[in-house]
């Protein structure tokens, strides 16, 4: 069974470690916040100027001055801090953020990512994505393995305009967990009940399968 978006987030949350400062993108990445393992402290960074994003506010407690990068009303956790946009991208550029989780339209087998622009469609802008991918030391992409047409999103070369090059380290899709290595996508885990043949069929880029590939555990 392919994973749900919630399960993709749940699997990515297993990569979190105590003391991590983490930037979560919009979409599936945002859901990772719901699965932070108990007993560890993870601080979420919002590029509009907040370290320590808390849960959404209770109804009636929304504060228009307190939003995340998706412009949603949020709260803060104890120990949070506010800062301006230059400092926010300063901490990103200087590699202080331990982990960045992003969605993507395409990823290449050398770690290029395309996630901001589709030719012929209204371009909304890259926001902070190009800054994040150019500087983050550890980038995990959360996405479906194929697009709505059934075409692979794991390619030998991205066809869409790039957001950044050679930057993605790991991909968690609805059917697989893969590392980006020098020689391509290395299959680490498969979704429960999904065969390596299916993953191979749905991966256009270079795929490395060595030995038995375990099923993901939750």
């Amino acid at each position: 069974m392919p994973l749900t978006k919630e399960q993709i987030a749940q699997r990515i949350a297993k990569e979190l470690k105590d003391g991590y400062y983490v930037n979560l993108g919009i979409g599936i990445p945002t859901l990772v916040a719901n699965y932070i393992p108990s007993g560890i402290k993870v601080v979420l960074q919002s590029e509009n100027g907040l370290l320590g994003i808390g849960p959404f506010p209770e109804e009636g407690m929304e504060d228009p001055d307190l939003i995340n990068a998706g412009k949603q009303t949020v709260t803060t956790i104890p120990g949070s801090a506010f800062f301006d946009s230059a400092m926010s991208f300063g901490m990103i550029r200087a590699g202080r953020v331990d982990l960045t989780v992003l969605g993507a339209m395409e990823v290449s087998d050398r770690g290029d990512i395309a996630n901001w622009k589709i030719p012929g469609k209204m371009v909304k802008g890259m926001g902070g994505a190009m800054d994040l991918v150019a500087s983050a030391k550890n980038i995990i992409v959360a996405m479906m393995h194929t697009n709505p047409k059934g075409e692979s999103k794991l390619l030998s070369h991205c066809t869409l305009p790039l957001t950044g090059t050679r930057c993605v380290k790991k991909i968690v899709t609805d059917i697989a967990v893969l590392d980006i290595t020098e020689s391509g996508f290395k299959l680490l885990e498969r979704a429960p009940g999904v065969s390596t043949d299916e993953i191979r069929a749905k991966t256009e880029g270079n795929l490395i399968i060595e030995g038995d590939i375990p099923e993901m555990k939750f």
């Binding site: 506010p57 209770e58 001055d65 939003i67 949603q72 991208f89 209204m122 190009m130 500087s135």
Partner: protein
């Protein structure tokens, strides 16, 4: 020293057609609502607006777009505005999209008196086209220039009569950067107090950067994505 003006109309009175404006805010959070309303009322045209976003159809910079007062937007993300999309597709409006960190840092460079900066954002992408590149320690960077803006319009939570400013929560965002970067900075504040009442240790923008300041009125502070959880 007299920086205090009566209202937004007086604060923007010297802004003219074709000027380059910086406008603080992220989404609709921390935007200079009163100054935008005054610009709409005055009908100044052909503006170039440097702002992270372009508002929504009926609020923020969207109000200026609706009256076709903006010739060019320089932003990182402009997704929430149908009128914006229409003007872009018909060619009435010019748009320059740049990475958000580059936007922030080009403001910062201007405010710190530096003509340009190097950033890795956009290397290997179409953002890098026709830009000077340079490698440092084996990594490629792009040369990006400091912004030159005639005016910066910023919004703060508290300000004093000497122009010192304090922002609140994530409404800070681009405001302190732009306050330092404009040739002339206009600050609107929710609470204007006499000089001496703000704690000098808590000032985010020192008054030296602020030319005009006024007590803002009737803040709507609209929420773009109201998101709540169930009460326990």
């Amino acid at each position: 020293m007299n920086k205090v003006v009566l209202d937004a109309d007086e604060a923007i009175s010297s802004i003219k057609d074709g000027d380059v404006l910086m406008l603080g805010g992220f989404g609709l959070c921390g935007i200079p609502e009163n100054c935008i309303a005054a610009l709409v009322k005055k009908g100044i045209r052909d503006l170039t607006c440097i702002s992270n976003n372009a508002g929504v159809d009926d609020f923020g910079i969207g109000l200026l777009l609706k009256k076709k007062q903006v010739r060019k937007m320089i932003s990182s993300y402009v997704g929430e505005n149908a009128e914006f999309e229409r003007q872009l597709l018909t060619g009435e409006l010019e748009v320059e999209l740049i990475p958000q960190g580059t936007l922030a840092t080009r403001c910062l460079a201007a405010g710190y008196g530096m003509p340009a900066i190097y950033t890795p954002a956009g290397t290997g992408t179409e953002v890098a086209e026709q830009k000077e590149r340079r490698s440092f320690n084996g990594k490629e960077y792009l040369l990006e220039y400091a912004f030159e803006a005639d005016y910066a319009l910023v919004k703060a939570w508290k300000g004093d009569t000497d122009g010192n400013l304090i922002y609140r929560e994530t409404a800070r965002n681009f405001n302190p950067l732009m306050a330092m970067a404009g040739q002339v900075t206009v600050a609107e504040v929710e609470q204007l107090v006499p000089a001496g009442e703000l704690d000098p240790d808590s000032i985010h923008t020192p008054g030296i950067y602020v030319r005009k300041i006024f007590q803002g009125q009737n803040y709507e502070k609209r929420i773009e994505q109201r998101t709540v959880r169930k009460a326990k």
